[in-house]
């Protein structure tokens, strides 16, 4: 940090055309984990101001979803949050279920939590890997991306697709646990626990990493609350808030887990919190697989509409087919909202229905968008070389923010 104090609210000082500051354009072609541009004003190599220019990967997910049948929004929202598809899918379906007044059966709730936790681990590993490459360590990048693989294989076994699972549908889920899933999951979890110890030696407690991240990009607790950042980044600043605990959905109210928090709110804490959350997710997956109740995986309202061929498929292959209701559903007029704790933070959904074939208003806020203040507020006063550290540590994903 420089000695000089820059007041970020007093931006008039910055003479855009003047020669006092160097303006550096970072991006827009994929400066990190997606297309965005960072406009950086530099005094020597001290950052005076950062203006994140977002929207390069805006894909009109809201507009598209307002012009399609309700079920067709599932793949759309998934493609926005690619490393974190299950949570987007879940948040949307929870909102639609509130409108429809359907409650999924307990087994489906547990299965939702199960895929969500598997997805949280892959999302955090993705974040840790990207952070690694930002700091110049291709080792941890390869390791983290490689270690996503066993978990993605689990998702593939359960849902039939590696990333874009489209697994959660209004009323329940599409497939039941396949044979041998529990044993395989247990092996994968034990493998990951052992690997986390290796990560500690080679990456988390590596003196180089500590030197580059400790006290870099600190966001104090009060500021974190004031700026409205979410997810692991918020908890790294010491705020005890997790949607899974405070507004439980799926099976989380029956599950026992901790919400790790840190004190300092610097880049190092944001790395540590992700490692701690992976440990919690491992604990959660074990618990879910132990406690998962028997029973239907789809709500009775949907099950009763299945025709005999579909019912036979359900009994034999544990596969839920779609009744015509899925195409023609018209949730009653009204508004609904839902919140879900995704890997990077809280997703918020708001949908207004007029009882029509399409949603009338489709609105969602993704966690990366809400973590945007990090660029403007915590970078100021740091050296330019610290910018990748801060960018990497907040696990920012431009396609997700732009929606």
């Amino acid at each position: 940090m420089s000695e000089k104090v820059y007041n970020i609210d007093d931006l008039q000082n910055i003479n855009v055309e003047g020669e006092k500051y160097i303006i550096l354009q970072i991006g827009p072609s994929h400066p990190g984990s997606g297309h965005m541009r960072l406009k950086v004003w530099l005094d020597g190599d001290i950052i005076v101001k950062v203006d994140p220019d977002i929207g390069f990967v805006h894909r009109t997910s809201e507009w598209l979803s307002e012009r399609r049948e309700w079920i067709k929004a599932v793949p759309i929202v998934e493609r926005i949050m690619l490393p974190d598809t299950v949570h987007a899918n879940l948040a949307y379906v929870l909102t639609v279920e509130k409108l429809l007044g359907i409650e999924p059966p307990p087994r489906a709730q547990y299965l939702r939590s199960l895929v969500a936790e598997i997805n949280r681990i892959t999302s955090h590993l993705y974040g840790i890997g990207i952070f690694g490459i930002f700091l110049g360590s291709s080792t941890v990048y390869m390791w983290a991306f490689g270690d996503r693989e066993p978990f993605i294989d689990l998702m593939e076994m359960l849902t039939g697709a590696r990333i874009t699972t489209s697994y959660i549908i209004p009323g329940g889920v599409r497939w039941d646990l396949p044979n041998g899933f529990k044993e395989r999951a247990e092996t994968v979890l034990q493998y990951m626990e052992r690997r986390l110890k290796d990560y500690e030696d080679i990456w988390v407690k590596n003196p180089v990493v500590q030197a580059r991240t400790i006290n870099v990009g600190t966001l104090k607790k009060e500021d974190a609350i004031r700026l409205g950042v979410v997810g692991p980044n918020l908890r790294a600043s010491g705020v005890y808030y997790d949607t899974r605990k405070h507004h439980p959905y799926a099976a989380y109210s029956n599950l026992d887990f901790e919400v790790p928090t840190m004190k300092n709110g610097d880049s190092y804490d944001r790395l540590l919190i992700r490692v701690e959350e992976i440990k919690q997710s491992i604990k959660l997956i074990r618990q879910i697989l132990k406690d998962i109740p028997e029973g239907k995986i789809i709500a009775d309202q949907i099950y009763n509409q299945l025709n005999p061929v579909m019912k036979k498929n359900y009994e034999e292959k544990k596969r839920v087919m779609f009744p015509a209701f899925m195409i023609h559903m018209r949730p009653p007029a009204g508004e609904a909202s839902a919140k879900v704790e995704a890997g990077r933070g809280e997703i918020f959904f708001y949908i207004k229905s007029t009882g029509d074939k399409y949603p009338y208003r489709f609105r969602w806020v993704t966690p990366s968008f809400r973590n945007l203040p990090y660029f403007t507020h915590v970078t100021v006063g740091h050296r330019l070389a610290d910018l990748p550290t801060i960018y990497g540590s907040i696990d920012y994903f431009p396609p997700e923010a732009d929606r």
């Binding site: 049948e69 079920i71 066993p150 697709a161 407690k205 300092n264 579909m310």
Partner: protein, 179 residues
């Protein structure tokens, strides 16, 4: 959490990191699949290319309606006797006189393999396969004709070694010959 955060003293830290790196240098935990010499046998519910059973399909267009990227086109089809364009297939003798109906064709350039169509079909007429690695040379191959669409997708690298992935305590994922 303060004990997690405590900086490691640099000497121990570097030595531990190097030792771990060296360990993996000598004993790497590779999970690479030697594609295409080895190809995977995927789980039975894996969502790959699929075709439709011409005899089962009733031409209801539900699959076309549910497809999120609108990849399915319904093509006209005449079944039964007197069919001019396409001769009537076996097993449909009971249909008297030509009957106009429709059949789905998937545009592979648009399909996202969500399997909504497969699941919505009231007679379960789609035939899913686990073939996922097809490449198309020409634009027209993306949009097959109905006759081409009926052919089951041909797996590339038929002579490759078939393996299945397995969770492995040491390597995360390992591959062993498929049974």
């Amino acid at each position: 959490m303060s004990e997690v955060r405590k900086p490691r003293d640099p000497l121990t830290g570097h030595v531990k990191a190097l030792a771990k790196g060296f360990k993996y240098l000598v004993e790497p935990n590779r999970m690479t699949l030697d594609y295409p010499a080895e190809t995977m046998k995927l789980p039975p519910n894996y969502r790959g290319f699929f075709t439709v059973d011409d005899k089962k399909c009733i031409g209801c267009s539900m699959c076309e309606m549910v497809c999120p990227p609108e990849a399915i086109t319904m093509v006209p089809r005449i079944i039964g006797e007197g069919g001019k364009t396409i001769p009537a297939p076996e097993g449909e003798k009971e249909v008297k006189g030509p009957k106009r109906t429709k059949r789905p064709v998937v545009n592979w350039g648009k399909c996202i393999f969500c399997y909504f169509c497969v699941d919505v079909c009231p007679v379960d007429a789609f035939i899913p396969t686990q073939v996922h690695d097809l490449a198309f040379e020409k634009d027209s191959e993306y949009r097959p004709s109905y006759e081409d669409y009926l052919k089951p997708p041909e797996e590339p690298y038929k002579n490759s070694k078939k393996v299945i992935s397995k969770a492995d305590l040491k390597r995360g994922v390992s591959y062993e010959p498929a049974p």
